[in-house]
């Protein structure tokens, strides 16, 4: 039978853990509310932006707009180098949130390797960056404090490098992998092809309602600037969506941890009572047998 003192110590430590996890859950709940509100407000804008870009891309693909030859809108048949940007959290203790993203990135890396395409991995968030460093996977570059505090300017700067390289022809694609917020209970993994703009879903045979006219005289300049904003915003949106998802994942993980701790305290209490009872019984037997022997 385990020592009474030991069990007592264990109970104390588990209930202390429970206190911590409960506090973390409360903190995450509060932070989630703020992060979700931010993501929710941006969702509409992001959706419309995607719609506008998709429509332009579709029309260019279907040759409705003559004379435009923009690299961002042309499918590249044999890509050589591709940028993959992943977004993970800076902190752990949020269940499978980070590992899900990492797994997807690993799968992507394997896929590209099979096709003989070089991948430049660009990481956002301490957890993912540390993982790939530890596993000796080369990272092209990384930022650490961006995913916990999304900042439009920093995000713009970070993604700008990829956009420039794409336009210069140094890379042939840009993908972004992140874990986004779906609802309070679930996160949804997103793998987005940002550049060149994905035109696969667009069906050229479909009857078009209207003809696109691009007003600015300098079409190229307009498209360039539009694509810049589109990619920058997609990056920023990925960051804020990821923060919301991180908090929801942490909230859940901490809730489970609190419940587990509660169960454990219950089990340990039963164990403690049993041990105490056993000690009392042994003592009684000792006294009784002592009295018996004196008779």
């Amino acid at each position: 039978m385990a020592n009474l003192k030991d069990i007592q110590r264990q109970i104390k430590s588990v209930s202390n853990t429970q206190k911590t996890t409960r506090a973390m859950k409360l903190v995450s709940t509060a932070k989630l509310r703020r992060a979700e509100e931010l993501a929710r407000r941006s969702r509409l804008y992001a959706a419309k932006m995607n719609q506008v870009i998709a429509e332009i891309a579709g029309r260019i693909k279907c040759n409705k707009v003559g004379g435009i030859d923009n690299r961002c809108f042309t499918e590249i048949e044999t890509p050589k180098t591709v940028d993959v940007v992943f977004v993970t959290a800076d902190k752990g203790l949020c269940g499978g949130f980070n590992i899900q993203t990492i797994k997807t990135v690993k799968k992507l890396l394997a896929e590209y390797k099979e096709k003989n395409i070089k991948v430049r991995l660009r990481g956002v968030g301490k957890k993912g960056v540390e993982f790939f460093k530890y596993n000796e996977v080369e990272l092209f570059d990384s930022v650490i404090d961006l995913s916990s505090k999304p900042d439009k300017e920093k995000a713009d700067k970070f993604i700008e490098a990829s956009i420039e390289d794409f336009k210069d022809g140094k890379i042939d694609g840009l993908q972004i992998v992140y874990n986004g917020f779906k609802n309070m209970m679930t996160q949804e993994l997103h793998v987005l092809k940002l550049l060149p703009v994905d035109t696969e879903q667009f069906d050229c045979n479909e009857e078009q309602k209207s003809i696109l006219e691009i007003e600015a005289e300098d079409d190229e300049k307009m498209l360039d600037s539009l694509v810049n904003r589109y990619v920058q915003y997609a990056m920023y949106y990925a960051l804020i969506d990821s923060v919301a998802a991180e908090h929801s994942a942490r909230m859940q993980a901490m809730d489970t941890a609190t419940n587990n701790a509660k169960d454990m305290v219950k089990i340990l209490n039963v164990k403690f009572n049993k041990a105490r009872q056993a000690a009392i019984t042994t003592e009684l037997i000792e006294i009784i047998s002592g009295v018996e022997s004196m008779k």
């Binding site: 407000r41 941006s42 509409l44 804008y45 419309k48 932006m49 506008v52 429509e55 332009i56 309602k209 209207s210 003809i211 696109l212 006219e213 691009i214 007003e215 600015a216 005289e217 307009m222 600037s225 539009l226 904003r229 915003y233 920023y236």
Partner: protein, 130 residues
């Protein structure tokens, strides 16, 4: 005259969603007006003021720093990066909106020739309100 549907969206949410008689937008190549059943067009917007003529013929002004407009037969969608609506019930509300608007203009750092006209427009819009 039929009405057009107008949506103005910023990264922080919707700033205008409703019907209007006409809308004047600060395009990169110059100001242009849109009435209902305008042909499709997509273009960039420069820093400037969007004037919306509402159903009761009153005009609402919204200051923007950058945007893209997408017009089709059904509706107009304006995506802007930063926007301040110059409106308010009381004088203090209006002056607060004006202050925000001025801040937004300040934030447009580059030497944009449009800014001077924007400031002038802003003042006149405010005058109309007061």
């Amino acid at each position: 005259m039929s009405k057009l549907k107008l949506e103005i969206l910023t990264p922080n949410g919707e700033i205008y969603n409703g019907e209007a008689l006409s809308v004047t937008l600060p395009g990169e190549e110059g100001e242009f007006g849109v009435l209902s059943e305008h042909s499709s067009l997509t273009t960039l917007l420069d820093a400037g003021v969007i004037d919306i003529e509402k159903n009761d013929k009153s005009i609402e002004s919204i200051l923007i720093n950058w945007g893209v407009v997408h017009v089709d037969e059904e509706k107009i969608v304006v995506l802007v990066e930063g926007a301040v609506a110059i409106r308010g019930e009381t004088q203090s509300d209006i002056s607060k909106a004006l202050e925000n608007a001025k801040e937004l203009i300040e934030s447009i750092k580059d030497n944009n020739p449009a800014i001077a006209t924007v400031s002038a427009k802003l003042e006149s819009a405010a005058q109309n309100l007061i």
